[in-house]
C-alpha cells in the first residue's frame, strides 16, 4: 500500500482551563489516503472539530498536545512532522497550502467588509508568487467551477450579497484555489437546506475526483456520511470507538454507541419502529467517565470491567476496528 497522505498517531489533546486540565481527545489514531474521503462522526463534545483543527495547528493557546502524539503529512517530495512546525512561516504549508478548511457557517468565515474576491486573491498571493491579475483570473475560474453564475461580477461582491448555498460554494472555491492535498470540511452542509445540501455534496464529490484531493469530512449526520465518504471514524467524548469502511460500519456496527446512534435516527424507510433514544446525556468533558467512556449510557455494560478498564481495539472484519469489551476475544455478543 502506498503511503497515507496524513497519518495521525496517538493524538491526545488537553485544554488548560480554570477548572483544571480537560481532556478533549484521547489517543486517537487514523490515516487518510490520497484522494480518499474520510468521515469523522460524533455528537457535540466528541472532539471531532478539535481533532481536525490539530491538523492545521489551529487550536487555541491553552491546548496541550500529548507528548507522544504525532501527525505526519506525506507530500510528494517531503515528509512534514506537523508538531515540529514552530514558525508561522513554516506553518503556511498546513494552513492553506497543502491543507485547507471549510466551516459550517460560511457567513462567519468570510470577512464582512472585504469583498469575496479580495479574500480569494489574498490567500493565493500568500501561498504562491503569482501576480494579482493571475490570482484574480484563477479565483474567477474557481467560482465558475463551483457553479456560481456571473463569477466575474460575484467576485467583487461581499459575503452578505450571497445566499447561504452560494456562500458555501464560494468558500469551497476559495479553499480549493490553492490546490490543497487535503480539505477539512467541518459540518459543511449542516446549515444548509436539504435540497442545497444535496447540491453541495455532489459538488464536493466531483471536486475530489477532479483535483485528486482527500477530504476529512466532519459531520453528525449519518445519512450524509453514507452518501459521501469511503471510510469513517466514530468518536465519542474524545475517544475513537469505531472505524472502518463506511459500508462495514453502517451495515454492521460493532460498538453499542454506533448501534444506538443508528437506532436513534429517524428513518424514512421504516416508520413503524419507534425511535430509541440512547439513555442519559453526554457527560461533561470535565467529568469524563473512567474505563470505557460510553459506560454511563451503555445498554450492555458489563459493569465493573467497563467502568475500570479502557477497552482495546478488536478487529471485526477487514480493517474494521471496535473499542468495546464485549468484542474482545473470548466473548461473544449476539
Amino acid at each position: 500500500m502506498s503511503k497515507p497522505l496524513i497519518s495521525v498517531k496517538d493524538l491526545s489533546i488537553k485544554f488548560n482551563t480554570d477548572e483544571g486540565l480537560v481532556t478533549a481527545v484521547d489517543n486517537v489514531s487514523f490515516d487518510i489516503a490520497p484522494g480518499e474521503i474520510l468521515g469523522l462522526v460524533g455528537e457535540s463534545g466528541s472532539g471531532k472539530s478539535v481533532t481536525a483543527k490539530a491538523l492545521m495547528l489551529l487550536n487555541p493557546e491553552n491546548c496541550v498536545y500529548g507528548s507522544d502524539s504525532k501527525i505526519i503529512m506525506n507530500l510528494e517530495d517531503d515528509e512534514i512532522d506537523v508538531f515540529s512546525l514552530a514558525k508561522s512561516r513554516d506553518k503556511k504549508v498546513i494552513r492553506g497550502g497543502a491543507i485547507s478548511m471549510i466551516f459550517q457557517e460560511p457567513m462567519a468565515s468570510f470577512a464582512p467588509a472585504i469583498s469575496v474576491g479580495d479574500q480569494m486573491t489574498e490567500q493565493l498571493l500568500i501561498h504562491s508568487d503569482m501576480s494579482l491579475a493571475r490570482a484574480k483570473e484563477i479565483s474567477i475560474e474557481m467560482l465558475e467551477r463551483v457553479g456560481i453564475p456571473d463569477p466575474a461580477q460575484r467576485f467583487g461582491q461581499y459575503a452578505f450579497e450571497f445566499s447561504g448555498g452560494m456562500r458555501q460554494r464560494a468558500m469551497i472555491a476559495m479553499a480549493l484555489s490553492t490546490k490543497p492535498k487535503l480539505l477539512i470540511a467541518d459540518e459543511p452542509t449542516t446549515a444548509l437546506d436539504v435540497t442545497i445540501q444535496a447540491q453541495v455534496i455532489d459538488l464536493m464529490k466531483d471536486l475530489v475526483k477532479e483535483f485528486h484531493m482527500a477530504i476529512l469530512f466532519i459531520t453528525h449526520d449519518l445519512g450524509v456520511i453514507a452518501q459521501t465518504v469511503d471510510r469513517m471514524v466514530v468518536m465519542y467524548l474524545g475517544t475513537l470507538i469505531e472505524k472502518g469502511a463506511v459500508r462495514d460500519v453502517l451495515r454492521n456496527p460493532g460498538h453499542p454507541y454506533t448501534k444506538g446512534l443508528m437506532e436513534a435516527l429517524p428513518r424514512l424507510d421504516d416508520l413503524d419502529t419507534p425511535l430509541k433514544a440512547i439513555a442519559g446525556d453526554i457527560p461533561s468533558p470535565l467529568d469524563r467517565p473512567s474505563g470505557c467512556v460510553f459506560n454511563t449510557r451503555c445498554p450492555v455494560s458489563l459493569g465493573n470491567e467497563c467502568e475500570s478498564r479502557i477497552p482495546s481495539y478488536t478487529t471485526q472484519g477487514d480493517e474494521h476496528l471496535v473499542a468495546c469489551h464485549l468484542m474482545e476475544e473470548g466473548r461473544n455478543s449476539k
Binding site: S44, D193, V194, H220, G223, L250, P266, L271
Partner: protein
C-alpha cells in the same frame, strides 16, 4: 370518526413591511405567508415542513398572534371557548395566551441565565396569575417538572449547569405549566444531537397523548416529521403546496417539491441510488417571488401555465390536497 378543528386559518396572509423606496405610492412589503387555509384537528400532531424562507415559522407565530396579520381569519375552538383570533379583546388575548404556547429551537437562548430552573418554569404561572400561593406554584412546578423528567433536585440550579437535552426539557416544562391546549414547537429538536433528539421527540409524543394536546410541529427535517406527526403540510415560499396524513404523504407524494424534498434526504444505505430528483437553484427571495406557481423556477416539470397562473390547492383524496397544475399527469402509473 368526527374530529373537530382546534385551530383553523382561512386565507391567512402575513406581510412584513420593507423600507420604502419611494415617498409616495404603495408601501412595499414581503409576503411571508400568503393565503393559507389549514385546519389543525384537536389532538393532532401536525407537522409543518419547508426550507428556510418558506414561512413556516411565521405561520406558527401567526397562530399564536405573535405577528400582525394582514388578511384572513384564524379561529380557535376548544371545549370551553371559541375565539376569532383576528379580533381578540385584551382580556381574551390574555386568556388565549394560557391556551397556546411556544417551544423554541435553541434551548441555550431560550432560558434566562439569571433565573433558577424553578423560577423559569414558574414564571408563566406568576405572570398569568394562575396560582394563588407560592406553595401552589411550587407544587405545580414540581408536578410538571416530573412529567418532563427533570430531576427535582435540579430545580434550584441555573440553566448553565445543563446539557442541551436537559435545557430543552426545561423549556418544554415552561410551555406546559399553564396547562395549554395548543403548542407550537418551532424546530424544537433541530439543535440537539441525534441521541438526545430521539429522547425529546419521545417525550413530546408521550406528553401530547397524556395531556391530550394539539401540536403544530415545525421542522425542516422530513424524517423527524415522518416519525412524530400524524398530518403534514409542506410549505414553499409562503404557500402550502401539499398537505396529507403523514403516511399518505410519504407513500404517495404528489407535488414535485415534496418529491424532491424526500429524495434529497441522504439515505443511510451507501449504495442507495434510487430515484433521485435533484433540484437546481435555490428558493427565490420572498421579497421578489416569481409569478405563477412559486416553485416553477426550480421545477423539473414546468410548462407554460406554471409560469403565469398560480395553482390552487385541490383535493385529490380524503384530506390530501396538492397545489400543482400537473399532479395528475405526473402520477407514476406503477403505483
Amino acid at each position: 370518526m368526527t374530529k373537530k378543528a382546534l385551530i383553523s386559518s382561512r386565507d391567512l396572509s402575513v406581510h412584513f413591511p420593507l423600507p420604502a423606496t419611494r415617498l409616495f405610492g404603495p408601501k412595499p412589503f414581503v409576503s411571508a405567508v400568503e393565503g393559507i387555509s389549514l385546519d389543525i384537528q384537536q389532538g393532532s400532531f401536525f407537522g409543518l415542513v419547508g426550507e428556510s424562507g418558506s414561512g413556516k415559522t411565521t405561520y406558527g407565530r401567526a397562530l399564536l398572534r405573535a405577528v400582525p396579520i394582514a388578511q384572513g381569519k384564524i379561529t380557535y375552538t376548544d371545549e370551553n371557548v371559541s375565539y376569532d383570533l383576528t379580533s381578540l379583546s385584551a382580556e381574551e388575548m390574555t386568556d388565549y395566551r394560557k391556551r397556546a404556547q411556544l417551544i423554541f429551537q435553541d434551548p441555550y437562548a431560550a432560558l434566562s441565565p439569571r433565573m433558577t430552573v424553578r423560577d423559569i418554569i414558574a414564571e408563566p404561572l406568576e405572570v398569568m396569575g394562575l396560582t394563588k400561593s407560592r406553595e401552589e406554584t411550587d407544587e405545580r412546578v414540581r408536578e410538571i417538572a416530573a412529567k418532563c423528567r427533570i430531576n427535582l433536585e435540579h430545580l434550584r440550579r441555573f440553566p448553565h449547569a445543563f446539557s442541551g437535552g436537559q435545557r430543552q426539557r426545561i423549556s418544554i416544562a415552561r410551555a406546559l405549566v399553564s396547562n395549554p391546549r395548543f403548542i407550537v414547537a418551532d424546530e424544537s429538536v433541530a439543535a440537539l444531537d441525534v441521541s438526545i433528539q430521539a429522547d425529546v421527540l419521545n417525550l413530546l409524543k408521550s406528553i401530547q397523548q397524556d395531556m391530550g394536546l394539539t401540536f403544530l410541529f415545525i421542522s425542516h427535517d422530513l424524517s423527524v416529521i415522518a416519525h412524530t406527526c400524524d398530518h403534514v403540510a409542506v410549505m414553499y415560499l409562503g404557500r402550502i403546496v401539499e398537505t396529507a396524513p403523514t403516511r399518505e404523504l410519504f407513500a404517495e407524494p404528489r407535488h414535485p417539491y415534496t418529491k424532491a424534498l424526500l429524495s434529497a434526504i441522504p439515505s443511510l444505505d451507501p449504495d442507495y441510488a434510487g430515484d433521485v430528483q435533484k433540484l437546481e437553484g435555490e428558493i427565490p427571495s420572498p421579497s421578489n417571488p416569481p409569478p405563477g406557481c412559486k416553485f416553477h423556477t426550480r421545477c423539473p416539470h414546468v410548462i407554460d401555465i406554471c409560469r403565469t397562473e398560480e395553482p390552487r390547492l385541490s383535493k385529490l383524496g380524503f384530506e390530501h390536497d396538492v397545489a400543482c397544475h400537473r399532479w395528475e399527469e405526473l402520477v407514476d402509473p406503477s403505483e
